[in-house]
Symmetry: C2
């Protein structure tokens, strides 16, 4: 996108100092996420691509997904594990842009079926996502853990915060 | 993400042949989008980053947003206009992963305040987003049109389609 020199940036930087309320809101969005928007880099085009994925916790918490190896996003993550995740879905009422959301910078780590922790991860996922029983054992499905590298919390208009991995840890 | 050689891809490619029903669903998701998840490449880190933005039509249709020049996503689009957009937000009930959604490959084009079409774009935006009156005239806000380069429609489990720009045009 070319520069837009006729559009000056006159307002001050809208990032606020991170406080305990911002940390608590971000951790709550992570702990309660059941789905989110995953951003990856399409290995064929280099474009960012955004898809909806299921989210949940692993046996020791954290942020996990169960994905199909046939999906475009899993092919992209095999080529480049760097990703973005948007959590915090707006409800049916009100302005979606005033609903709190968290944009996470993450790195995806797949969990092989042969890993010692696989059975506990599968059990935890099914406890939280009972409908996943329909496809969890298809051979192309696998678990991915998202390592949290940082985040930007938007609590509504002009309420923005930058969060470190320590801010995001429970 | 390293290869996961113990996870074979045994199911066939789940992409179906694009038909008129898929085209109609995709065009409907575009025409009715009021917000979506934007994926950009963070110019500082190279990571994909996903944020929620407002969406709407311009005077001649298309897919537009009104964004702040102070936002992380507009800084990213200035450095690289390639983006992804996820449309189709799940409702409050049912499985979010069975709700139809469209992952678009787009290129962002800013509309300078000095453009001859600015007033018509502003009027159309306010007609569809009356609450934007609170910030539409702040000097850092500007319109972006997303040129549609392609899309992937997911109509639910194993109902995936690839869509060309012609498939997406009304």
């Amino acid at each position: 996108m070319p520069d837009t020199p006729d559009i000056p940036a006159l307002r001050p930087d809208p990032i606020r100092a991170t406080d305990d309320a911002a940390r608590a809101l971000a951790r709550d969005l992570i702990a309660n996420a059941r789905f989110g928007a995953l951003g990856v880099i399409d290995p064929e085009t280099g474009f960012p691509a955004v898809t909806r994925i299921a989210l949940g916790a692993g046996p020791q918490g954290g942020l996990w997904s169960l994905v199909s190896g046939l999906s475009a996003h899993s092919r992209a993550l095999r080529a480049d594990p760097r990703a973005g995740l948007l959590l915090g879905e707006p409800g049916p009422k009100g302005d979606p842009l005033t609903h709190p959301r968290l944009s996470l910078q993450v790195e995806a780590r797949p969990l092989p079926h042969s890993d010692a922790g696989f059975d506990a991860t599968r059990a935890r996922w099914l406890a939280d996502h009972p409908k996943a029983r329909l496809y969890i054992d298809l051979p192309d499905f696998f678990f991915v853990e998202f390592m949290l590298l940082g985040g930007r919390l938007n609590g509504g208009f002009a309420r923005a915060y930058r969060l470190s991995p320590a801010d995001l840890a429970p």
